[in-house]
Subunit: 341 residues, 4 copies
């Protein structure tokens, strides 16, 4: 068999572990050939690739980033390129293509599958917003990095009597905020799924101070927004790719809370450290399993599917379903975290 | 409601997170009273306890160990004490008892439930050997610690042309070996579920050297044993509690491999570091959820059950079922790891 | 002897280790009594303190922050309070006062010593800007945190073809930038001691791209400024304490570099995580030694001095000298780092 | 100029950082050529080497181990090979040779310098036992790894009422034991420089239990020995290289202490994890500076010297002096640690 693999979209710890696993399983166990396209879909469209043998994936298991590079391709651009992609796939004699990526990538994968390409997807997202899988690799690392930072910030806030507003990743969903906030014992967790009322939030934090506590930690997802009319809020604009560029909810919240509480409040924006670097053991194992099962699915001819974790099992689920809806934080999960306020 | 909580058995990162969560949920949200028994079942038998309010659990979320202490109680001793325990529970006016522990603890919990006590169990084990739950807290931390050590050892082995035999925890099951071995890219993983043949293992490692590699990492669970007749093997004796005291499989393997391969082989025994210290974010979230749901179960009067993770949900499962069989590494999971050899 | 200890100024990993060491050495070895003033100089001025015995400092060695709390007191306020402070010291029968703090604290300490108080200072600064000592505790931890973040960011920048401008702490001096930049192999290091020319910086980073590299990491100290006329620059205003509030050099640099290079450039501001959390082993040892030697100095009656590291020895140096000049990055040290560009 | 570099002796975090720094400084700043000999002196004796350009050292700064490999060569073998080495150096047109290694390597380096070779040494040792330099790279990482393990073990010992005897590296000197023990707040620190009396040690640990504490942590250097006649002790034998192979002081101590104290005592042997893996920021900076200054010394023609840290400066010191005596833990340093017992 001849398999092409590519990584697309934002960075995510574990991408290299998937690539390595695909190559190990395919080359060692099946005697396949594997090539890697450079910079995501771009590599497929421009037929820019290299051969991936065992040496090519030596020592990458624990490395962040992706040895294949990544890029964002606009959907329209990809749609126009379907025929070109099919041509390259035919020329290269590929029997399967394994794109590793987030929601956008998987939508594109679904499209290409419907156009006739033999696609087996592998979901990746640090945000944990992909339906049909319990979780994907990258999320555990992101939560771990955020939690470690929160652990550090807590001692500072406590000694110096501050409110710290810590902004973590999550544009549409609050999973990282929820999990890191629970893990670090944050005093309030603000997620995009539940627009916040600044008055209520102030009261919540204020109660801690009334109870004699000297500090508070608020974790806020970057995509969180106030309830309509709750406070003035700059939502930011669009960047050149049409993506939302946020104006900084932590910054705006800290100004507002400082004023309302009369306590020093400071924003901390964790940013890209959450997406880089060595993956946790959890993410490496999951990524390795995804790669392994993607190769198996290819050999079974199960195309138009993606790998998914359900409990402790890896299953294949239809790409089309997987990208239908975003997985958001449900009310019950949020309720579990409220007890820590 | 009045709830008693206790921790029993070996150390496990996340115990304090459960205790804290029980107190938060019960005291803040339900207005319950919570007491903590000291040193596991011993505290219940001797009516040795203290009140747990919010201050008592302040700052413990990220701390290893257990603020309540733990101990091992021999089953016979506990059986003899059932009436005494019932008396203390009545005297203290307890409506629920939440024991947090491993297989032995849960068996005892099942026994006490059958004797009429209002038990809601919370499973803990770094070994991941409890059936009925996808995983429990502690395992992720143990795997993380082992993986970090393996990452470090790999560079040393590589530069210095060695075979390192790294012994991780796991007396009956090889889960820590499997996951840390996969996460770190070990070249062989040896688990108790599959007695090893020293000849095959030598050949496997030897192939790496024949292929021009200069080092190898073998991960071995402490309870692994050679296939009958495969090599001389000292299985160790029993300690004063009747527990198996292992003679050191890594040590014996390294001597044997050094001789057979003619390469420097060294054992590394990771030991107790795998059970101590701050839990990973994953374990803190899971432990917090377990504590929350145990309190809810108590309020719903669901006794004789324990918390369990299934997929992303926390369910209650019967204690009796949970401890019936040990969860061992199945062949399919082992096969996934073989590809990394 | 009766000793008072206090912590003052911004947070710094290792404060608790000094407090613990003072108590251990004084109480256990000398049979002294130790009290701790709350919230820095404020505690001394308001006679707000508590007794510190061995139990009070149990388990704090590895904890960030300060169990005594801290605050910033304006110099004028302290000057007005000298007589009050002297009165409290006399009332409490204190034979020595050990203030642990940065430049501002040590200046205040010097003032109080000249006013007749028995002061032994312990220097702390994550910025490494105190003269007369090779280094103080806190710096190693801050550099470690920054380096770990840079390690993570590097893989992301590489895979995603970006310029990342990473802002680390350092208002007047570039030590954290220099050390973390060297440790992580940054491609440019920008420090306050050397106003940067935006043209030169662009050229430097641009050369990497011309040479075929796909990314660059620039580390910049928060207090760095462009050379006069080099680019428009918002230096920010003063906060309510009269401290400089920076407008964000990384943010401004990233906009400018993106435009000039035509490459995606993103700012990352590490912020307060650099000052919080568990100290490195290095900082714990140094902090412990400082506490030990401060007690010894007090017993020898060496007042008006502070502890200092010189090579591997702890010496006592006059407070007055220590705060005379800020320790800045010398040209030779900067030159050593240039080779990594 | 044409420079040869090699790494010799046991593994040490920071070796790659030195190699990288030598290449950066030499190639980029001086326009030199650099070659790297494989597997230490062996590479020089067998003229086995490769060219080291910028690409060859890309991405290695944070990596443990050594890309050049290492080996132990017996002194006699090297002495016999001096003429051969000189021949290779002449053939290759080398103007300088930079061996990076520990005591044995530096002795060999001194010998070769006296035989006429242009040697500039760079000291490495995780043990911190090389005189003439305040410290070398590798030690900080080893202490950090040991301290992190001790932090973890402390919570376990505390919850489970144990004495843990933790064996760290250090055959001749107790620096790692001293620093990690101080950093983690160990209750006893046992070093080779001071043979221990088992009775005194038992008493010391026993006092903790009498005072109501439930656990104790003893850090012991692998080379520690009991005072003559204090207890039976197996010192172990020699390995095939004539090196001491220790029989395990922690194991022997734990048996003895368990018996004498009547408390569960367990040994933990940290082993090779202390020498592997990514170096701390401190070690990376020091290693980078050593590499830089070694190249400068070569260009100034200062041969027969090695780099050394004195305070914050890098100096060159004669190789002959540096290896004359081992740097042991002095009484004053040990006394500082006693206060934490």
């Amino acid at each position: 068999m001849r398999i092409g693999v590519l990584t697309s979209g934002g960075d995510c710890p574990g991408l290299n572990a998937v690539i390595r696993s695909v190559v190990h399983r395919a080359v060692v166990d099946h005697g396949d050939e594997v090539i890697g396209f450079h910079d995501g879909w771009k590599g497929l469209l421009e037929c820019d690739y290299r051969k991936l043998d065992l040496d090519a994936v030596g020592g990458i298991l624990a490395r962040g980033g992706t040895i294949l590079g990544s890029s964002r391709v606009q959907p329209a651009h990809l749609r126009d390129g379907v025929e070109r992609a099919k041509g390259h796939v035919a020329d290269l004699g590929l029997d399967a293509i394994i794109p590793i990526g987030g929601e956008g990538t998987l939508k594109a994968a679904s499209l290409l599958y419907e156009a006739g390409l033999p696609i087996v997807g592998v979901p990746k997202t640090i945000d944990n917003d992909i339906s049909s899988t319990d979780v994907t690799f990258g999320f555990d690392t992101a939560v771990g990095v955020a939690t470690e930072a929160l652990d550090r910030l807590k001692t500072t806030a406590e000694s110096h009597q501050r409110v710290l507003i810590v902004e973590v990743m999550g544009r549409e969903t609050g999973w990282i905020a929820l999990h890191s906030g629970m893990a670090a014992g944050a005093h309030a967790i603000v997620v995009p799924e539940r627009p916040f009322d600044i008055g209520e939030l102030t009261e919540l934090v204020g109660k801690r101070f009334s109870a004699g506590k000297r500090f508070a930690i608020v974790v806020v997802a970057e995509g969180a927004k106030p309830r309509e009319g709750s406070m003035e809020f700059d939502v930011g604009g669009k960047d050149i790719y049409g993506h939302q560029r946020f104006a900084g909810v932590a910054r705006q919240l800290s100004v507002e809370l400082e004023e309302r509480l009369g306590k020093e409040a400071r924003p901390v924006i964790l940013g890209h450290v959450q997406r880089g670097g060595t993956p946790t053991a959890y993410d490496r194992v999951l990524a390795t399993r995804f790669g392994w099962h993607a190769v198996e699915a290819a050999h079974r001819g199960e195309f138009g599917m993606m790998t998914a974790l359900r409990g402790t099992d890896i299953l294949m689920v239809p790409l089309a379903e997987a990208v239908e809806t975003l997985k958001t934080v449900p009310a019950e999960r949020y309720a579990e975290a409220e007890c820590v306020l």
